[in-house]
């Protein structure tokens, strides 16, 4: 096992670091004085790096499978095997009366395998250690394969899409110079691929990270890559503003993330997910990681009798089991339950920012200013899904209250995003809102206890959404950078491959399937998994019934707006004849990736929850999730176990499918067939339309609530410096000057005056005494006599008693 761990970490580290190497090479090649701007070398090098990364990831996946005897795929879902009495079983499982059965069930499941270790130490202070680690389980591997594969497709696509940058003189039609012309600049093909490589490095680092601090490091790095790529067209004010907005809004989420980190760091003294092994001399020292401390081996949270304190398991017995230390032990660690909730919410705050969840969703639509391959890779398939990935990775640390928050945030996000997508007319904006909405689904899935379901949707969504973004990119390139759907229409004939692959994507996201058969698009399986979990959850916690109904409704809306997009763009009559005439299908380097991704979008989830993908993911499911949680005793929410979820499948699946068909049908009637004129609806519900078109007013609200006040406070702070602190100093100085002026006056007027006066009076005295200096002896003797007498008189008068 040891050697397998080393092998895996080496392979994945190569896959992770190659794009960084690519970035460095491309950056230097770019600044080479005579760099040829017409060469595609940078693109090929970037593709090589990420493609080789895919190869390494695949080998790692294979090695892992062989090394673990493909245990993940052999795993039998106990829920499924007992499908006959699933309903009954589910009830039992969820309420926790059936413990022995559960143990039996979990014994069937092979033990999940995690390979973890340290690359190098960042710092160590006393017992506190910060390092760059790796944490490899089946989720890591699945993410690696997914990210590298999709990134490779997108890189190849981008060689076609960004080809117009292969010039010495690129004309940016969206930027006007003051003399009325368009802006000219050298092409930036190299730059684009260097940023893309840097992003791949950061994203893979995030996935590989073995501790939450390391996640944060790469979290920020993907953020800056996103900033650079959104602002790729730096000359466009809208692009640079959108880039700033994306980064700053993400930092708001990171503010929460940091608070979470502070709490974890102070309470646990480690950031490591897994237990850390350290060889100290001959002694093999093991320190508990975060997950062990909170959950131990069975996923159970140990709380003090009053429930206020969580007891952490950081003592290992001879069998390798972890226990809470005794109260007398100075090494005993505890954390208050409230603090654990705050820590969970804080980390989730970071996920809210990165995955564009309500209330920080506003940056993602603006991020569409970046080139379309960026939107496909960064802002739909990988980076924005990182928030979901982290929520999944960090799942053992979330207590039910945090999960409930996650569920509601996801639920609201899914709904808000979908409603805005209905009225958006920019093809990329529709997809952006749809991304927000789908990310909400994933969060919802995680929040209601569907660990596998949420991450399942992450992977399927990555496939079909990157496909759709690339299709939209193909459309945009074909239409000479027209993004408004109101000018499109009837493109099916002109660009059939794009249109049909897009249709695959649309059907996948809408979650279509043929009822009664096992034929279904990937989105059906994953969405069904989420809805089934939500249904099971609402059965256990009836008060939260909205957590099922809203996403169900949203499933219908999703189907509606996605088909609207397709009908709008590809069917009907061309709305702009001039545009239509110049439309052409994209070259092979763009359509090739589309076809490959279409296959993935349709089939990556084959078999649903019995399929390989789902089994692979759930092989790493945190311990205890499968059993569910009974919250009745602790007065919190309950979480459904596998069996309970399985019992809800058929209901949820049919409902979701029905919703999708209804949405699709309405869409067909309105936009495909034209039975109802959308303009009429728009007129009838003008205020609703305006509200949605204004994105629920979030941007305006935040502007008034945060942006403007920040600038006011900033001005205020600057003014305090100028008018208070400096003024105090100036007053002191003025006082000093005034005092010295007084001093001078005093000097010249009083002291000099006295001196002068004395001098003058002495002089005048002398002058006047000249008169007495007569030279007459008798007069002198008289003076002396009078003086002596006077002195004696004075003496006796003052000192009478002698």
């Amino acid at each position: 096992m040891e050697s397998l761990g080393n092998k895996l970490s080496t392979l994945l580290a190569i896959a992770w670091l190659l794009p960084l190497f690519g970035f460095v090479v491309e950056v230097f090649a770019m600044s080479w004085p005579n760099a040829n701007r017409k060469s595609k070398a940078a693109a090929y090098f970037a593709i090589f790096c990420i493609g080789f990364g895919f190869v390494c990831s695949s080998i790692a996946f294979y090695e892992w499978g062989e090394g673990t005897d493909w245990a993940a795929f052999k795993a039998v879902d106990h829920g499924h095997s007992e499908v006959a009495n699933a309903a009954e079983h589910g009830e039992h499982a969820a309420t926790g009366h059936d413990d022995h059965e559960h143990k039996a069930a979990t014994h069937e499941t092979p033990k999940r395998t995690v390979f973890s270790g340290t690359f190098y130490n960042l710092a160590q202070f006393g017992n506190l250690k910060l390092s760059l680690d790796y944490y490899i389980d089946s989720l890591t591997l699945a993410m690696f394969v997914m990210v590298t594969l999709i990134a490779t497709c997108i890189h190849i696509f981008a060689t076609g899409y960004m080809a117009e940058e292969l010039v010495d003189d690129y004309v940016d039609h969206q930027v006007h110079t003051h003399d009325g012309g368009h802006f000219h600049r050298p092409g930036r093909f190299y730059k684009f691929f260097s940023y893309m490589s840097l992003f791949c490095f950061a994203m893979l680092g995030l996935v590989l990270a073995g501790n939450i601090f390391q996640v944060f490091i790469f979290w920020e790095l993907v953020g800056i890559c996103s900033y650079l790529l959104i602002g790729f067209y730096v000359e466009r004010h809208s692009a640079s503003t959108a880039a700033n907005k994306a980064f700053i809004v993400n930092r708001v989420g990171d503010f929460g993330f940091i608070i979470g980190l502070m709490i974890l760091w102070t309470s646990f003294g480690t950031f490591s997910f897994d237990d850390q092994h350290e060889v100290d001399g001959n002694v093999n020292k093991v320190t508990a990681g975060l997950f062990t401390m909170v959950r131990g081996h069975d996923g159970h949270l140990d709380r003090s009798s009053d429930g206020q304190t969580v007891l952490l398991k950081n003592e290992q017995d001879v069998n390798g089991e972890w226990h809470v230390r005794k109260e007398s032990d100075p090494g005993r660690k505890t954390i208050t339950y409230t603090l654990l909730i705050v820590a969970g919410l804080g980390v989730f705050g970071g996920c809210v920012g990165k995955s564009a969840q309500f209330p920080l969703q506003t940056w993602l639509p603006d991020a569409m200013e970046g080139p379309t391959p960026v939107s496909a890779l960064v802002h739909s398939a990988t980076m924005v899904a990182a928030g979901v990935y982290l929520a999944g990775r960090f799942y053992p640390m979330f207590v039910p209250e945090v999960l409930l928050t996650i569920a509601y945030v996801g639920c609201i996000t899914a709904f808000v995003g979908a409603t805005i997508a209905i009225v958006a007319t920019d093809i990329k904006k529709v997809l952006a809102y749809s991304t927000i909405s789908q990310l909400g689904y994933m969060m919802l899935g995680l929040g209601v206890g569907g660990w596998g379901a949420g991450l399942f949707h992450l992977v399927t969504h990555a496939c079909f959404k990157s496909l759709m973004f690339l299709c939209s990119g193909s459309v945009i390139a074909g239409c000479h950078h027209e993004q408004e759907m109101t000018k499109m229409g009837g493109l099916l004939r002109k660009m059939p491959i794009t249109a049909l692959t897009m249709l695959v994507g649309v059907m996948a996201i809408a979650g279509l399937a043929i009822p009664g058969t096992s034929i279904a698009f990937s989105g059906y399986h994953s969405k069904d998994a989420i809805l089934a979990t939500a249904l099971a959850y609402t059965k256990l916690n009836p008060i939260h019934f909205l957590l099922f109904l809203v996403p169900l409704l949203t499933a219908g809306i999703t189907s509606f707006y996605m088909f609207r997009l397709w009908f709008y763009t590809f069917l009907g009559k061309p709305r702009d004849q001039h545009l239509h005439e110049h439309v052409h299908e994209s070259p092979w380097e763009m359509t090739g990736p589309l076809l490959l991704l279409a296959v993935l979008a349709a089939g990556c989830a084959i078999g649903g929850e019995d399929g390989k993908l789902f089994k692979m993911l759930t092989f790493s499911e945190p311990v205890g999730v499968g059993q569910g949680v009974d919250g009745a005793a602790a007065h919190t929410v309950s979480l459904p176990g596998h069996a309970a979820i399985h019992a809800s499948h058929s209901t949820a699946g049919s409902a979701a499918l029905l919703a999708a068909f209804i949405g699709m049908s309405i869409s067909y009637l309105v936009y495909g067939k034209g039975v109802i004129n959308p303009a009429d609806i728009k007129r009838q519900a003008a205020s609703v339309h305006a509200f949605l078109a204004n994105k629920w007013g979030f941007d305006d609200l935040y502007d008034v609530m945060f942006v403007k006040p920040a600038h006011v406070v900033a001005k205020f702070a600057a003014a305090i410096d100028k008018f208070v602190f400096d003024e105090i100093l100036h007053t002191f100085v003025r006082m000093g000057i005034a005092v010295s002026k007084w001093d001078r006056k005093f000097d010249e007027g009083v002291i000099d005056g006295i001196v002068n006066l004395m001098g003058n009076s002495t002089y005048s005295l002398g002058i006047s005494l000249r008169n007495v200096q007569t030279g007459k002896i008798r007069q002198y003797v008289t003076f002396i006599a009078v003086s002596v007498v006077t002195l004696f008189v004075l003496l006796f008068a003052l000192y009478p008693k002698g």
Binding site: S31, Y120, N121, L122, A123, Q124, F125, G126, N127, L128, D172, V175, T177, H178, F183, R185, F216, I217, F218, E220, L221, I224, Y227, G231, V234, E235, R236, H237, S240, T241, A243, N244, F247, I248, R251, V252, D254, F255, I258, I259, L261, M262, I263, W265, T266, G269, A710, H711, V713, A714, K715, F716, A717, A718, D721, F725, D726, L729, V733
Partner: protein, 537 residues
């Protein structure tokens, strides 16, 4: 010839020797003088590297100590030495002086005088870092003051006289406070108990001995420690600078010529932090602990206040100056997160304090690289277009792509991007703060949003956009090779430190561990008046 004992003196006086020989250069031999002065800084830098070679990692104590009687009747010695704390800062300073000298090629006025003052300034700085005698420390401290005053006042911008006098007054005031504390400790150490430690009659200026006395606890009364700490802290806080003693900084920075701004930000501010770590804390552990909450609060206020003020600036250089106030706030915050349990009265989570201290040291080094970088980047564009109005730039990324790329890296380092140096210091300090105070820790974490705000907004206005909007567009030419070299010199350490922070922690950790131990025992040994104990937070 170059043992650890003599290297310290060489590093201090090599710049002065070069300055002395500069006197004999002909006035017209400008280029030769520059090269000669540069050689002086290069030699000093390599000597500082040699000092690293002499350093024993793992030993937290003072190394390479020498002590020669200077004014024996007052027990004043020429006493030098260094540990990990001073070593890292000495190397940083020697590096920043070297880079700033490279950046001084544009100085045309009274070149000889400029170079001589520049080198004397370096001597003063190095002396402060090595001095282990309080009086010697004070002398070097004041030696720095005059060259800086003239460098700002003669070679500065339009309001140079105002800025120079402001700088002078503030620093002088700080120096006077330090002088009072110095005398307090000199006469306070003339007791019989103290003589047992010093081994001679009369008071002592020996910083190590004074620290040892403070650690014993019964020699310096709590009252003396509190009063001494307040005096010393204000004296050093002016230099850091922290809120509310910071307003000299924006003016001094804005008016100073680019290389002098680089030295101000990269080196002189660090002297404040160094003074707090080397003198204020060890001499008054009790006073420091009593004031800890106030210090942490001042640090946090500086972070937030500086960031807000930076957001409001329209002058590019002034914005960078305020970013220094914000970034140096982390230093104070990290130093002061010394938590004493209210129940048991002993230190709680000392490893977190140690982490904060290390973070503060790292932040000083990191800021010592990134901030000169930012000032240099401002200087490059100012030299071309002769204005700094943030609203009158734009489009530089198209006109000067290499320059813009380098500037972006440096500004991202200031923004605290992982992989670059600014991240480690900031995040380590913030992470250590929760143990001390939850509220203040949360407020300090809020700094990340504001920092992103002011830096990205400035980047957008200066580098992005379609066209340059200000005057002298014709003067915008690509970076010269000298400027590129300076840029690279500053960028490389940003990456190295950001990726492998142990380059700093390897040297600082042992010394800081020792410091934390002695401070803690000093506080425990000091008899506590009951009235003060209750004010503990």
């Amino acid at each position: 010839m170059f043992t650890a004992e003599t290297l310290t003196s060489w590093i201090i006086f090599v710049p002065t020797i070069f300055a002395f020989f500069l006197v004999f250069f002909e006035k017209k031999a400008v280029e030769a003088m520059r090269v000669f002065a540069l050689a002086g800084t290069v030699v000093t830098f390599f000597l500082s590297l040699a000092l690293i070679g002499q350093f024993t990692v793992g030993d937290g104590g003072m190394q390479g100590k020498i002590s020669v009687p200077w004014i024996a009747s007052w027990n004043i010695n020429y006493q030098l030495g260094y540990d990990g704390i001073s070593l890292t800062l000495v190397v940083l300073s020697a590096f920043v002086f070297l880079v700033s000298m490279l950046a001084s090629w544009g100085i045309e006025k009274h070149v000889k005088g400029y170079l001589i003052l520049f080198l004397i300034l370096e001597t003063g700085v190095m002396g402060v870092f090595f001095a282990l005698d309080f009086f010697l420390f004070y002398v070097f401290w004041e030696v720095m003051l005059l060259p800086m005053y003239f460098l700002i006042g003669v070679w500065g911008g339009p309001r140079r006289e105002y800025a120079a006098i402001k700088f002078f007054l503030y620093t002088l005031a700080g120096g006077v406070l330090m002088l009072i504390a110095l005398l307090m400790y000199y006469f306070g150490s003339a007791t019989p108990e103290a003589m047992a430690i010093t081994g001679h009659s009369g008071g002592s200026f020996d910083l190590l001995k004074l620290a040892e006395m403070a650690q014993r606890g019964d020699i310096f009364s709590p009252g003396l420690q509190v009063a001494g700490f307040i005096l010393l802290f204000i004296g050093f806080a002016i230099k850091v600078p922290t809120f509310p003693f910071h307003t000299w900084l924006p003016d001094a920075h804005v008016e100073a010529p680019t290389p002098i701004s680089m030295i101000l930000a990269g080196v002189l501010l660090k002297l404040g932090g160094y003074g707090i770590i080397r003198i204020a804390f060890p001499l008054c552990p009790y006073g420091a602990q009593v004031a800890a909450y106030a210090l942490v609060a001042i640090g946090v206020i500086s972070i937030i206040y500086g960031a807000f003020a930076a957001l409001a600036q329209t002058d590019f250089k002034r914005m960078v100056a305020y970013s220094s106030v914000s970034h140096m706030g982390y230093v104070l915050l990290g130093i002061a997160v010394w938590k004493i349990s209210e129940v048991t009265g002993v230190a709680e989570g000392r490893d977190y304090w140690l982490m904060g201290m290390n973070g503060a040291m790292f932040q000083m080094i990191a800021h010592g690289v990134s901030s000169p970088g930012m000032f240099f980047m401002v200087g490059v564009i100012y030299d071309r277009v002769h204005h700094r109005d943030l609203n009158q730039f734009g489009g530089l990324s198209g006109l000067m792509p290499n320059y813009s790329g380098m500037a972006a890296v440096i500004f991202f380092a200031g923004l605290g991007l992982p992989g670059l140096c600014g991240f480690i210091g900031e995040v380590f300090v913030v992470l250590s703060a929760w143990n001390y105070s939850k509220t203040l820790a949360i407020v300090s974490a809020g700094g990340v949003i504001l920092t992103a705000g002011y830096i990205l907004w400035a980047l957008q206005r200066v580098y992005l956009g379609p066209a340059y909007k200000g005057p002298h567009p014709e003067a915008i030419t690509p970076m010269t090779s000298r400027e590129q070299a300076i840029g690279w010199l500053l960028i490389v350490p940003c990456f190295v430190l950001g990726v492998y922070p142990n380059f700093v922690f390897n040297y600082t950790n042992d010394s800081l561990t020792k410091l934390v131990d002695t401070l803690d025992s000093g506080y425990q040994n000091t008899p506590k008046p009951n009235s003060v104990q209750t004010t503990q937070k």
